[in-house]
Amino acid sequence: MEIARHWRARATRYRLEGQRHRHSGVVRFPPQPPALGEEPDVWEPAPLSGRGELYSFSVLRQPPAGYESFGIYAVGMVRLEEGPLVTAQLTDCAEEDLAIGMPVEMVTRRLADTGEDGVLVYGYKFRPGLR
């Protein structure tokens, strides 16, 4: 059950693949099934640049179960260049490195380790822009 859930999300998580509306050009993330009454394939897969601005952030001082190994870490809302607002963990940064409006970029990192006999889960995070 757990494996299937992670496997289905791999394109979305590994490379931040969203969807573009074939007629309006609107981009959305994460991908969703078409709404009732919509053409089945009106939303096509759209690779996103991974570049954006930090819209807001918060620092977790009591990480949830499974994330203890990260210690204190930040999560952020990122306004992507293409428009969607994405919530993700922030990495390669300390709290004092962060400021609302700063450029950030997507990196693919380990999201979780589901145990010695479990799978490693990878997915998008954001870090302060390297360049």
Partner: protein, 349 residues
Amino acid sequence: MMKPIRPVGLVGYGAYVPRYRIAAREIARMWTDGQGGVPVEAKSVPGPDEDVITMAIEAGRNALARAALPAERLSAVWVGSESHPYSVKPSGTVVAEALGASHWISAADWEFACKAGSEALTASMALVGSGMADYAMAIGADTAQGRPGDALEYTASAGAGALLVGPAEEAVATIDATVSYVSDTPDFYRRADRPYPVHGNRFTGEPAYFHQIMSAARRLLDELGRSPTDFTYAVFHQPNTKFPQTVAKRLGFSEAQIAPGLLSPRIGNPYSGAALVGLCAILDVARPGDTIFVTTYGSGAGSDAYALTVTGRLPACRERAPLTAAYLEREVFVDYATYARWRGKLVLG
């Protein structure tokens, strides 16, 4: 000397080095009260969410960006490492999926201690050079482990180099020829299911590192009819600062030739990534017409030597991805306790 039927080269390249460092003096503080010499100034440390797969993805993305090549054009994604996150389950498939490659590729993991990445490079030359494919991605990446207090702990580090092999006419640097030399030499090994490798102390020098590198390098120079002074730059596997400096001198290369690619003093030894990241740093500064001599080394043992020539295509593609220097400059130092926690050296009840 091996040369493909169809001329090949690097159409893209990309490095990755984690943000974190630990000073060798900090490790010495733990085990020798700070006394004695240290083999490097500092080594790179992977962050708590980094491993071979994540580092290979970023290096691979940089290589694709420089080549301006859609990932769907790849025919192979090969990852060489001695620290693949899984014992059974290829890193290559995860990396390929993250890069956006098609499903119609060869994806495999290569293993040969510190030259697993160059094994993938030689295989990529063959795949493209035979005409079986147009583009193959060879990546060397490691998050190397050293037993606490062991000499290796001062240098075993993390990094990745990705080399995108394609037709010579599209290359930023052509690969003119290669040589591979191997021998059964037990200088360094890790048995299955053991967490830390074992090394043969002084045995890792003359019969291992120096013999393999000198054999491969001299053979390639002889068969090309060229001498070390014919090359603009050279890079050797760099397990510490002294070994690559010594082998370069013995072969007849100068300090200036190896300087841009000698990164071990700052980042330690990222194993399969060591010579490849050094090559990326050289490509970051090389000019059209420059020649580069590369010799990798893997314990067990063997060396691959390559001769490259930079083309006029390099300057235009260089800035399409972060330079190696950008990764080197963002260093953030951590203390031994943080390093121990991130590297799984603390046993939690």
